[in-house]
């Protein structure tokens, strides 16, 4: 049974897809079906709507989420009323989504349900913390399309990435694009005496000089980089951007004479919004990039079928991805892995 044991080592997991229809729900069902519930109390929620039987965008058939007896789940009240299982309502949370208040329930007779939980990073974090009172051992967050934010290590410690033909129908491109994301997730964690101080900063772009002084460049975010008149890399050994890392900031550092001496630091991989091109140029010039917090990528799942009907060869795809990513890659639908 691939990766289930690995998941059990963590108390929070997020499942994110690089595109719609990359088999994220299949992957979630696979996990939910195999978790040993007699050992672990599990709670599930989703950042978007999940478990609907028809895709809202492409109108293709979608797998539904099956919840087993003893699992906890959080969903909007309107979806709770449509559940096709028997469950005991245990909490009406203070979180709200566009579909109403978020409620939490414990499954009493297994079945299917639509799951649509809190939608912002902050409320997800509160949700994870709130599950503690029910003695939950593992929280699982189903991410939404192209929203990696739920996989932020601030919210969940481990993650599973779904990719597939829907992301790109060319194996070469698919492998390359996925590889880039995986590379970002795998960026090394900063080990430095200033790390704790940097973690406490809430916004802006900051530098650390050779004497470990932390300097505020007075920018609200990396987006305001145009207003700079001086070379911020001068005399610095670390440049830290709290918010989004953009091509502009990365190019600015790549173009400076100091590029080899500074380390670019971001909060975590979900804050990186640079193109692969900019990243490669930065690296070629000797640039280094690190993160303050890192999440553990447990596995990559693929769906070789795209909603437009295009099907890639599963074995070749898995093989190529595995080779490129140096990580286990699974086609869950094709291979009915044993328990």
């Amino acid at each position: 049974m691939p990766f289930i044991n690995e998941i059990l080592k963590y108390d929070s997991l997020s499942i994110v897809g690089l595109e719609k229809n990359v088999g994220k729900t299949e992957c979630l069902n696979y996990i939910l079906y195999r978790l040993p519930l007699q050992e672990k109390r599990v709670a599930v929620t989703s950042i978007g709507i999940d478990g609907e039987n028809k895709d809202q965008v492409t109108s293709t058939k979608k797998p539904e989420i099956f919840l087993r007896e003893g699992m906890y789940f959080s969903t909007a009240e309107s979806h709770y009323k449509e559940r096709r299982l028997v469950s005991e309502l245990v909490e009406i949370t203070n979180e709200r989504s566009s579909l109403g208040r978020i409620v939490t329930a414990k499954v009493s007779v297994g079945g299917k349900a639509l799951i649509s939980g809190p939608s912002s990073g902050v409320s997800l974090r509160r949700w994870v913390a709130g599950m503690e009172k029910f003695g939950i051992d593992l929280t699982i967050i189903d991410g939404a399309i192209s929203r990696l934010s739920s996989a932020s290590p601030a919210i969940s410690k481990a993650m599973i990435l779904s990719t597939g033909a829907a992301y790109s129908s060319n194996i070469q491109t698919l492998v390359q694009k996925t590889k880039f994301v995986v590379e970002m997730i795998g960026l090394p964690k900063l080990e430095d005496c200033t790390r704790d101080a940097l973690c406490d900063i809430e916004s802006g772009v900051w530098g650390v000089d050779s004497d470990d002084n932390i300097i505020d460049f007075g920018l609200t975010s990396a987006l305001a980089i145009n207003s700079l008149k001086v070379d911020i890399t001068k005399g610095m050994r670390i440049i830290y951007t709290v918010g989004a890392l953009t091509d502009k900031l990365m190019n600015l550092i790549a173009d400076s004479k100091n590029v080899k001496n500074v380390t670019l630091v971001v909060k975590d991989f979900t804050k990186i919004f640079v193109s692969e091109m900019a990243y490669r140029i930065f690296c070629n010039r000797g640039g280094k990039i690190m993160v303050l917090q890192k999440s553990k990528l447990i596995a990559v799942c693929v769906n070789p079928t795209a909603p437009n009907g295009y099907v890639l060869d599963s074995d070749i795809l898995c093989g190529k991805l595995q080779e490129a990513l140096k990580l286990p890659v699974y086609d869950i639908v094709k291979n009915k892995y044993d328990i």
Binding site: F66, K81, S87, E88, V90, E91, I92, S108, V109, G111
Partner: protein, 448 residues
């Protein structure tokens, strides 16, 4: 006037509201829609309860009230005979449990200010297994048939692994039957609880009220507020009056707030004094404390007696409105005119007017203020104005800010007989560090 509309009066009431730690949304809603109390029976009853809460340790109750949810809509639906769903039953059960727990705590500390109805029977109906945990579903215990159906469902589906089409069909039938029985149970439960809707509503409103009282008592302790002596139809007098919002700002600057003593009888009151002497703050504090006393809060003074009024009118700052097309002078005069009309109409009004006619020439300005005081005569509620003009009227009570003493501002008020205004504007301007040449020229002109 409701508390919500009173928040628009710029006197520091909003600060009191924002620092009030009402835990529940229903408590906040109740507070905002509370009407201003205008009769002594009301205020005496209210402060009697607040005093009792103030004297007890209610911290355990406050924790329970944090979980109180506003379920008025659900209770109204129950009352009207609607069939509640699982979420609504959960809310009702939750309220009944919280109310029962708070009721026990009230008995424990012997607090009688708020009474809660007995709701144990409601909890029992919604907790057939006696688990006493805040959760709800249509329990197996409600119907033997339901228990049997669910057993079959569990057996059929195992862990949700692949089922045959036949099994799927069977499961769908069972799920359908389960839903039907659940609905029947919910109908019965709704029917049984319908008669309890009134008590549940009472519990919700009394718990919200208790939440407000606990928050007010806590605020009184935090800010050092006092219980007012309500003096219906009598005078209003404050000893050591302050304004908590201003006090906090002053404290942040590392300075000390100087409380003032003031009393208002039937005749109009004028306050004169130097610029930056805190005259406007006195007016705002008078407005604030009047409102606090009539909305059942602790009052910001060492001790006080307060006459009840029907309305508080605070005319402060610039009434200029480009939209309405009136200048600052016109805006102000029109606002004061409205006050006069209300007083003439016999309304119990506390009118507080900051420097009337300040935007026109001093000759006519003085005449306008003197005329105003004459026209007002004696008032039911109270009439206080601040001014820089020398007012000649003899039928007014006069206060002056002590003012600059050795370069330090003394904000306390003293009663005086003469209307001569202090001439400290230049000294104060100088202390602000303005252009020395300007000061020089000004002094030369005065001496000429």
């Amino acid at each position: 006037m409701t508390f919500k509309s009173a928040l628009d009066i710029d006197c520091g009431l909003r600060y009191m509201y924002e620092t009030l730690e009402v835990m529940s949304p229903s408590g906040r809603k109740m507070l905002l829609s509370a009407p201003m109390m205008t009769a002594k029976v009301e205020t005496d009853d209210y402060y009697g309860r607040l005093k009792e809460v103030h004297s007890k340790d209610c911290s355990k109750i406050a924790v329970k009230l944090m979980c109180l949810k506003d379920i008025e809509t659900t209770l109204s639906r129950l009352d009207e005979g609607a069939v509640l769903d699982d979420i609504e039953f959960f809310e009702v059960k939750y309220l009944a449990i919280v109310s029962t727990e708070v009721r026990a705590l009230l008995e424990e500390i012997e607090l009688e200010a708020v009474k809660l109805p007995v709701l144990e029977d409601v909890v029992k109906v919604l907790d057939p297994d006696g688990l006493n945990i805040p959760s709800f579903y249509v329990y197996d215990s409600y119907s033997p048939e339901l228990r049997e159906i669910r057993r079959q469902m569990r057996a059929l589906q195992g862990n949700g692994d692949d089922m045959t089409d036949e099994q799927r069909g069977e499961l769908a039938v069972l799920l359908q039957r389960n839903a039907e029985i659940e609905l029947k149970v919910r109908m019965e439960l709704s029917q049984r609880l319908r008669g309890r809707a009134a008590d549940l509503k009472l519990a919700l409103s009394n718990l919200s009220f208790l939440d407000i009282l606990i928050a007010k008592a806590q605020q009184m302790r935090m800010m050092g507020l006092c219980f007012p002596n309500i003096n219906e139809g009598g005078d209003t007098a404050y000893c050591g009056m302050f304004n908590p919002a201003v006090k906090e700002v002053v404290a942040k600057q590392g300075r000390e707030y100087m409380p003032v003593d003031i009393s208002i009888e039937r005749e109009p009151v004028t306050i004169i004094g130097a610029n930056m002497g805190g005259k406007s703050v006195v007016l705002k504090s008078l407005a604030l404390n009047q409102l606090l006393a009539q909305f059942g809060f602790g009052v910001a003074a060492r001790e006080c007696q307060v006459n009840l009024v029907e309305e508080v009118a605070l005319c402060i700052g610039d009434e200029q409105s480009i939209v309405r097309g009136v200048s600052s002078f016109a805006g102000e005069i029109l606002a004061i005119d409205a006050v006069i009309k209300k007083i003439r109409g016999g309304k119990g009004l506390l009118a507080l007017i900051d420097e009337p006619a300040r935007t026109t020439n001093p000759v006519e300005g003085t005449a306008l203020v003197e005329g105003l005081l004459e026209v007002i005569g004696k008032v039911k509620g109270g009439f206080v104005l601040t001014t820089h003009y020398n007012i000649g009227n003899d039928k007014v009570k006069r206060y002056r800010v002590k003012g600059l003493r050795d370069g330090v501002m003394d904000y306390t008020l003293e009663q005086t007989q003469c209307g001569d205004v202090p001439q400290e504007a230049i000294a104060i301007a100088q202390s602000l560090g303005i252009d020395p040449e300007w000061i020089e020229c000004t002094k030369r002109n005065i001496n000429n």
